[in-house]
Symmetry: C2
Subunit: 516 residues, 2 copies
């Protein structure tokens, strides 16, 4: 047998660049959050779907490669004759599933999906090449009642996982309204092209973009829309300058203008300033801003219907608000778009107060299934940025406090492992999370170090002396650690760091101690 001498070199114990491992609470907190969201989705009548991680490049909607490698945004490889790829979101597989199984599926098809997706992008701080998404979509219906329902469900999901009412706002807008405005500017459309780069914001939320480029007289719709997207930062007057002749930014650098006329800019500003004190005000303003553009008026009608359906169910503007400045998902969206923003402030890495920002987004898309079947299938859906939402819950301390480790039962004598096991079995049977120390029992110090590392609340010690006397020592590691630092005498007395208890009373006493 030939031996490969290269294998003598030791392999590196490392994740690939941009990937990471998740330990303990990082895993269980996420699972718990996803399980609660799944409950809400199910309660709304959505059904689970789990597709595999691997799809054909063809089904994912990337162009088939005529060079060695397909589009760089995905992880793809050639397998015999087929190009395969890891899914980069949960929407493209949904379109494939619906096209493949539509004869067996109910229409509308209401499904939720949660799981990892993969992006072959440059990793950055807090930005990984594998991350979770959590989606719900209704496929096969054009009614915006479906969009309204998705918004209500999103509100319920956020509240269910621990985002208090008042700490979030679901903003809705409508691509049709935007299109109405652009139509009034005289800008027309170009065909959709898939596979365009993803904006930071969309990447953070796990939504891929298919940017639509539209040009008239060298002014692109995209430029206008990107300028509109800066409204939050530069305000109305800043947007006006950027849309027309250009503007100096805070650093003094000059940003070139898009080149619209003052009249054209007025139309955009009227749209941007349309947000009123109530949804009704906003709708009235929007109607004015798009008047004469049929698609825009249709968009305003849809927003009105959504708002009215939501408010009939008790979802008022304190939870779901029409906001013309939401320009997210300029990609494949064709109607209503939504974005869930967390409105409380947190400190950023530089200690500045900042709004937490967006944790979910979605909207209506009509053409994803068409690629497969030739028929347009209207659909709408939402995607929750799992890691962002989890970070928010941690920032608000709305995840369960990190659970203590197991009770560690020490080993005083290798030959008495059965005694250790008997204690462990008793504790477990009583519902107490417990484990025996399975390392080398020679050094008792190492056993205590191990218990600390495991964040064990208590260590149990039954030496041969204790065994003879029918007692065990219960060492309180939390109190011990606290006492070592700051404990007052009273605290110390109240929870002594070590106590002797009769062996027969161990379970009962430990239960009482754990309940403290």
């Amino acid at each position: 047998m030939l031996k490969d001498t290269k294998t003598q070199r030791r392999p590196k114990a490392e994740t690939p660049k941009g990937f990471r491992d998740y330990f303990g609470a990082e895993v269980t907190e996420r699972s718990a959050m996803l399980a609660r969201i799944a409950e809400v989705y199910r309660h709304y009548g959505f059904e689970a779907l789990e597709t595999s991680a691997v799809e054909t490049v063809e089904a994912l909607g990337k162009f088939l490669p005529d060079v060695d490698r397909p589009n760089e945004g995905v992880f793809a490889w050639k397998e015999e004759e087929d190009w395969l790829a890891l899914r980069y979101d949960l929407t493209a597989p949904l379109a494939r599933v619906y096209a493949q199984h539509r004869a067996q599926l109910p229409t509308p098809y209401r499904r939720y999906a949660m799981g990892p997706v993969w992006r072959n992008e440059k990793p950055g701080p807090g930005r990984f090449r594998q991350f979770y998404q959590c989606d719900a979509d209704t496929v096969g219906t054009p009614t915006v009642a479906a969009d309204a329902e998705i918004c209500a469900m999103l509100a319920d999901a956020l509240e269910t996982v621990g985002i208090t009412r008042g700490d979030y706002l679901i903003k809705i807008n409508n691509r049709k309204v935007l299109n109405g405005v652009l139509e009034k500017l005289g800008l027309t459309e170009e065909p959709i092209k898939r596979g365009e780069p993803i904006t930071e914001n969309e990447a953070a939320l796990g939504l891929y973009a298919e940017m639509i480029r539209r040009n008239v007289e060298n002014i692109s719709r995209l430029d206008v829309l990107r300028t509109v997207d800066k409204f939050d930062k530069v305000g109305l007057e800043g947007v006006r300058q950027l849309l027309t002749v250009g503007r100096k930014d805070a650093s003094g650098a000059f940003i070139e203008g898009v080149g619209l006329s003052d009249e054209q800019a007025d139309i955009v500003l009227q749209f941007l300033g349309a947000k009123g004190h109530t949804n009704d005000d906003t709708l009235w303003n929007l109607r004015k801003a798009v008047s004469g553009a049929k698609i825009g008026e249709e968009g305003v009608d849809e927003l009105e219907e959504i708002a009215s359906l939501l408010s009939a169910q008790g979802y008022g503007p304190d939870r779901v608000l029409i906001d013309p400045s939401v320009v997210r998902g300029l990609g494949y969206y064709t109607g209503p778009v939504f974005e869930a923003e967390l409105t409380f402030e947190i400190r950023d890495e530089k200690g500045r107060q900042q709004k937490f920002g967006s944790v979910a987004g979605g909207g209506r898309y009509d053409d994803l299934v068409k690629r497969f079947t030739g028929e347009s299938v209207p659909a709408t859906g939402i995607s929750i940025g799992v890691d962002r939402l989890l970070a928010a819950l941690r920032a608000k301390r709305r995840v369960a406090d990190e659970q203590p480790g197991p009770v560690v039962v020490t080993v005083m004598d290798r030959d008495r492992m059965a005694d250790t096991f008997a204690i462990v079995a008793e504790l477990r049977a009583a519902g107490i999370r417990a484990e025996p120390y399975l390392g080398n029992p020679k050094s008792f110090g190492n056993q205590m170090k191990y218990a600390d590392r495991r964040r064990a609340p208590f260590a149990i010690i039954e030496g041969s002396d204790e065994k003879a006397r029918g007692v065990v020592q219960v060492k309180d590691l939390v109190a011990g650690a606290r006492a070592a630092e700051t404990a007052s005498l009273e605290e110390w007395k109240d929870r002594p760091a070590q106590q002797e208890v009769p062996r027969g009373e161990l379970v009962q006493r430990l239960k009482a101690l754990l309940a403290k």
Copy 2:
């Protein structure tokens, strides 16, 4: 902008070969089962670990490719300078994690992991290229107390998900005992070679094999071990023939013998026949079979210690049994090996009664981390074959009955969607899973068809007539379907297929109906 004319062709809406989609209950039943197993693992003091799907080929332990593609058993591709691959099990990533993070991890490190793994193998019926595993391992301790604990935990996990005591048996054996027997035969070892093909059984259980080939005078240890593995099928006399001169099988075909002498075969048979009525009997017989072979005697001592630790905790031979015929995981295992077998019978596809068979396996392995660090790190663990166990629970109807679909609230008039939404919101608030019909409401027949497809227990109808009279119709779809077939008059009366209820009493009445 150039247009790619190739994109005019419609993509196929298909999963790649060997992959599949999971719908509804298929997803939720598995999640529920895994959540319950995770609870048991955590209760035993194991911590969650989630590694990414993607590892470097180097870390996974496949040889670095000197040709275009690495080992065909994995999905691998070249990414810039690195070869990446989808993990093919959860043990190889654990070894990488422990080597990478060992300074921060407690030792012993007790971790569980659950998630999909990928195999680049020829798919077959019921055999997919992505499937779930569910593992627990203790890394960094040589004591077989860790092995005993894993066996107890496996028993608890099986009972927790719904396998009744008596319906399963955890069989344990020890590689060292086998090695003792082989030593007595005069067969010595060859170095371990990774990446060998996987047996059907191991593939089904999701365990990869690193077969060890050992040869003396053209007789390989593997041949002997494979023959031993046929004990269940051909019995003692059959094994004797196969080990020596050969044997005619049922079809009359002659199977060549391994070529051992009668004396050598006797040693093997003594080992195989070692299973006694009690664990003590078996241990006594095994001790005889390996007497003189030090490694074998050590193996018997270990089995004795495991059995004694388990029985001290109440895990007797009705649950954990020493069984010399367990020859699983001949690969990287170095000590105790375990296998959980379901002992009840099911009918196979030809209607024959058959034992359900193995649903989990594992054992002690000492060299996986050594690849990275140069130091041997003893470890032991278990892997549950998730799909097999789920199939067993379904066969025994131990999964929750398929849950009914949501209550479907129909739409009688597109303009009255708000009324529909109000009813849906009321039902949901009362804890009833419900959804509005969001398809085209024109045909009432389509709405009923939809409700049937959703397995809705009830449909709610509020036409304008009902609205005016302050009532709604509650249509019982289950009773309706039953009545259409066989219902007696009494049943029909007891649960009329449609009834009118006052609008204000809908929630209360529906709750009562759903509770029936």
